[in-house]
Symmetry: C2
Subunit: 294 residues, 2 copies
């Protein structure tokens, strides 16, 4: 693994990632808009930078993990790509739209630098345990350079192709599948509750046995318990991802009727000031539609 690495964005995901890289022996130059989190890393040997550009060494490697498209575009300007320059590599781990990924890749290409998309599946806890799944896409040699670093951050690195946008397409599709599963579970549990079914037994049969796997087991229990706090992944972030998925569907000329359903569910919860709930809170929509309390 390359030792000298810049790291931009120390949020709920970025911070544990940076910790893992330090543990793996990296010499990190970190930057975060709010300085407090960076200070925490300084005690572990990271160099705290005053500006994002200072994390970058010409021809070096920089990782970014930011909240959304706007944060990435505002932070990673053409000036930063120019500083990265020929031989440089940006490993971009944020969940952003494929369109923005394409724009970012073009900015880097113009500066002679490489851009690899590496969005991840998993929450802060799995990130801390280096158990996230990482999707990667971009030019082959850039992916090869990124891989040893990414392997320190997750349990698995899956290659989605050479288009820098491809990994972001898969990330949005994955979050869409989770939202669709949550909505279907909410509809199913709601219609069953109104008919007096033993919901615990239903959850055991459908989520743990028939479906199985982490998503149905975890989300089935959350939909059933209606405990949407604390939020590992906030509803507002899920809403953002379904908004990006709708835009992607529009751009790719692919009607996706279930995306519209889950987008509107999340939007409605946001309108009811529940944006800070875990995004399983979208399940409240089916309940309230049926005259049950959220």
């Amino acid at each position: 693994m390359e030792r000298s690495i810049g790291f931009i964005g120390l949020g709920r995901m970025g911070l544990p990632m940076a910790h893992n890289l330090l543990k793996a022996g990296a010499a990190l130059r970190v930057y975060n808009r709010s300085k407090q989190k960076a200070a925490e890393l300084a005690t572990n040997g990271a160099v705290v930078c005053e500006a994002a550009v200072d994390t970058i060494v010409p021809g070096g490697v920089v990782i970014s993990m930011l909240a959304d498209d706007a944060a990435l575009e505002q932070t990673f300007t053409p000036a930063l790509a120019a500083r990265l320059g020929p031989g440089g590599l940006h490993i971009s781990m944020s969940t952003i739209s494929p369109a923005t990924a394409g724009k970012m890749a073009a900015i880097h290409q113009a500066a002679g630098a490489a851009y690899v998309a590496s969005p991840v599946f998993g929450g802060p806890e799995q990130t801390a345990a280096a158990q996230i799944w990482i999707c990667v896409s971009g030019e082959e040699s850039a992916k090869q350079r990124a891989r040893p670093i990414l392997e320190k951050l997750g349990r698995d690195v899956e290659d989605m192709g050479t288009d820098p946008a491809a990994a972001n397409v898969v990330k949005l599709c994955g979050n869409f599948l989770i939202a669709a599963a949550t909505e279907a579970l909410a509809e199913a549990f709601t219609v069953a509750e109104k008919q007096g079914v033993n919901l615990t037994a239903m959850n055991r049969m459908l989520c743990e046995k028939l479906f199985g796997g982490a998503v149905y087991q975890r989300y089935g229990s959350r939909v059933l318990s209606r405990e949407h706090l604390p939020a590992g992944f906030q509803l507002l972030l899920g809403l953002k991802d379904m908004r990006l998925t709708r835009q992607m569907a529009d751009a790719a000329k692919t009607p996706m009727p279930v995306v519209d359903v889950v987008f509107n569910r999340l939007l409605s919860q946001a309108a009811k000031n529940r944006g800070d709930q875990h995004w399983t809170g979208l399940a409240s929509g089916a309940r309230e539609d049926a005259g049950l309390p959220a």
Copy 2:
């Protein structure tokens, strides 16, 4: 396990079930509309009956596994319930509406007989291997009597409560969850295909790893391969179940927008004479909407 059992309905599911009961030492009296399948069981020791009513012994146990609500109501008339009479037990394994289950339970109650709903999850292969999951609901003592028999037919018997309709609610909800997952997978793979993503890697990441479990692994691969023949579970049967789910949602005053999406997908495929495909054929809807071949 009670040895003397009547068995009505020797279709793709009923026939392997009857075989399993014979293997377990049951003395079966079987009836099927078409005689050929019954003859096959006769060589294994079953008594083939000329009429459904002849499978029934007063106070005994009879199992039915029929294609739909109409088949069950036409076959299992009040006259049959009367012959079953006090102390009798009907184990009703068909996938029918909760409303029909309620009607059937009332007919049996009027005759002094017990009615237990026992719909199953799993296809003909899993049925032959006695690996299906069985949902059961009804009066406690009737369920206790049914359980040793059901345990010979499946890997697991899950109790959904005392309402005879409850197990049928769970069965319809389970099939709805499968249809919803198929639709979401179809939308996701379609939008990704149009953007040049490596779909095999996407399937591995999303269906095998992130979701995991039998449904996503099996249905993800089928949606991806677009091989909807041979059909373990036909599209027309899935359409029937989503029709029942819509009726159930209406009766239970529970809006279920995703049920409407998958019902219309299946209906459209039926309109295109694809009703004999596996019900993953509903995935063709998202593809054709996006201008791709089915």
